[in-house]
């Protein structure tokens, strides 16, 4: 059913502005003309505008901006990311669903997307505000052939993918706060949460979640995060097609993931460094044990943060929070 629909969309798309007859479609898809007509009605429900002219046939006038299985998979140029795609209008959390699907043996590359998350998950069970249609809320189910010690590099990879898409597709200047918060104009625009189930030498699965603020107007961002969050709409003054940016993200993620599997972390590290935030600057750094002021030096070949420690010595950090601006953001 779904594949017939996808092929139907592909056929219509090939014709561009020309019409394709119901008979032609019926022949090529091996379905009746009535079935073709039914599919057209379904596509209209998804927001496609389809023109049907007698003796000429059908053509797509405009494709919807609405996010759905059809619009997301239509024209998606990936080999394995999002081939299995789960879309929900409303869900408790795409992360939680990712864990469930992992246990049900869903394949590597499965993507879960929601228009709205009721209990969007941030780090340490903090809420991630994810209202209807205003952002991209999705999780990737991955089954990497990696030793678990390398898995944290996936968080830097995901941040680099988001930053590249924002820079290349959305004409903004993103920065990445180590290891994986994507900022624009010093404010957080995208967050990444990666969770792993692993044994000592084997990763069972990874669920990597992304929350990207897209079309929230300034007054829609929840009060408590207002001062430190932003959206693409706020930064560009334009409303963005979620479907368009989602596809760009899926494609970029696959590209970087494949590159990482082929060549290891060095090319990912270079991409990350192109967006590294406050590297070379003094910031406030805290770990679970202590808090101090120090300079962010660089990132290590394995992705760890190299910074000045409390006594000015070089310190390699795997877990730390970076704060900046006295009394300002993230104070």
């Amino acid at each position: 059913m779904e594949s017939t629909r996808t092929r139907l969309i592909a056929l219509l798309e090939e014709q561009a502005d020309d019409y394709i007859s119901g008979q032609q479609l019926s022949d090529q898809l091996h379905i009746s003309r009535t079935a073709v007509w039914k599919h057209m009605k379904e596509l209209e429900k998804d927001g496609y505008e389809i023109e049907a002219v007698s003796r000429k046939g059908y053509r797509i006038v405009s494709s919807p901006d609405k996010v759905s299985l059809n619009t997301l998979q239509w024209g998606l140029k990936t080999e394995w990311v999002g081939k299995q795609l789960i879309h929900h209008r409303q869900i408790d959390s795409t992360q939680r669903m990712g864990h469930e699907l992992a246990k049900q043996h869903y394949p590597h590359g499965t993507v879960i997307i929601a228009d709205e998350q009721l209990e969007g998950k941030g780090r340490m069970e903090r809420n991630w505000y994810s209202p209807q249609g205003e952002g991209i809320w999705m999780s990737f189910l991955l089954r990497p052939e990696l030793p678990p010690v390398h898995a944290p590099q996936l968080t830097l990879l995901a941040a680099a993918a988001v930053a590249e898409v924002l820079a290349e597709t959305c004409q903004v200047t993103p920065q990445i706060k180590w290891p994986n918060d994507v900022l624009i104009d010093h404010k957080k625009m995208a967050g990444i949460l990666t969770e792993m189930q692993a044994e000592h030498d084997h990763i069972q699965y990874v669920v990597l979640g992304m929350g990207i603020n897209m079309n929230q107007p300034a007054d829609s961002l929840a009060e408590d995060i207002h001062y430190k969050a932003t959206s693409l709409l706020i930064e560009t003054g334009e409303t963005w097609s979620l479907q368009f940016v989602t596809q760009a993200l899926l494609e970029k993620f696959e590209q970087l993931y494949d590159l990482y599997m082929r060549e290891g972390f060095p090319p990912i590290k270079s991409k990350w460094e192109a967006y590294g935030y406050r590297i070379g600057e003094r910031v406030s750094i805290s770990t679970m044990q202590e808090k101090w002021e120090g300079k962010l030096l660089n990132i290590e070949p394995d992705g760890a943060l190299n910074a000045e420690g409390p006594d000015g010595e070089e310190k390699k950090l795997y877990s730390a929070e970076i704060h900046w601006g006295k009394g300002g953001y993230y104070a």
Partner: protein, 171 residues
């Protein structure tokens, strides 16, 4: 923490063996030994832990051989009596170790209760803690069913690859 007798035993065994060099690590304790002119010399171990963690050093001399031992943590969770000689080795069947360098979290958030406490029964797929590195959160499972008899690290502590976190006794 290794007992003096255990270290003596090790030295004896290595002395009698063909082994030139020997290193042993458990629960933040590292012991390394190297033979010089056919004699065992034990070197001071490398301290890998955060500086805020208390340290303890045991020294013992034994027929011209020196032994130095440093522990990364004073085993606060270990109910061992100070008289090390009379104490039997703790009874456990499995050590849950960290699969990566990172921060050890005993609960899913600061407000929540720890995943497990001493005396808790766990199943193979029970989550016992989270180890986080670079914002990747690794839920560690017990991998055996049994009872948690020891928790070897503290909430928020930096753990090394392979470092034992829990001891579990099969039931």
């Amino acid at each position: 923490m290794l007992k003096v007798q255990e270290i003596r035993e090790l030295i004896k065994l290595i002395d009698q063996s063909q082994i030139e060099e020997f290193a042993y690590e458990t629960n933040g304790t590292k012991v390394s030994m190297k033979k010089q002119n056919g004699k065992v010399v034990t070197e001071a171990p490398v301290q890998t832990e955060a500086p805020s963690v208390p340290q303890a050093a045991n020294e013992s001399s034994h027929s011209g051989q020196t032994v130095k031992e440093t522990t990364a943590q004073e085993e606060e969770n270990n109910q061992e009596a100070p008289d090390q000689g009379s104490e039997a080795a703790p009874a456990y069947d499995k050590e849950v170790t960290s699969p990566m360098v990172g921060t050890f979290y005993q609960a899913s958030s600061p407000e929540n209760d720890p995943f497990v406490q001493i005396g808790d029964k766990v199943k193979t797929d029970s989550v016992v803690c989270i180890v986080e590195a670079m914002k990747l959160f690794n839920e560690i499972e017990a991998e055996v069913s049994g009872e948690v008899v020891e928790i070897l690290v503290e909430d928020g502590e930096l753990v090394e690859y392979g470092q034992p976190l829990f001891r579990i006794k099969s039931v």
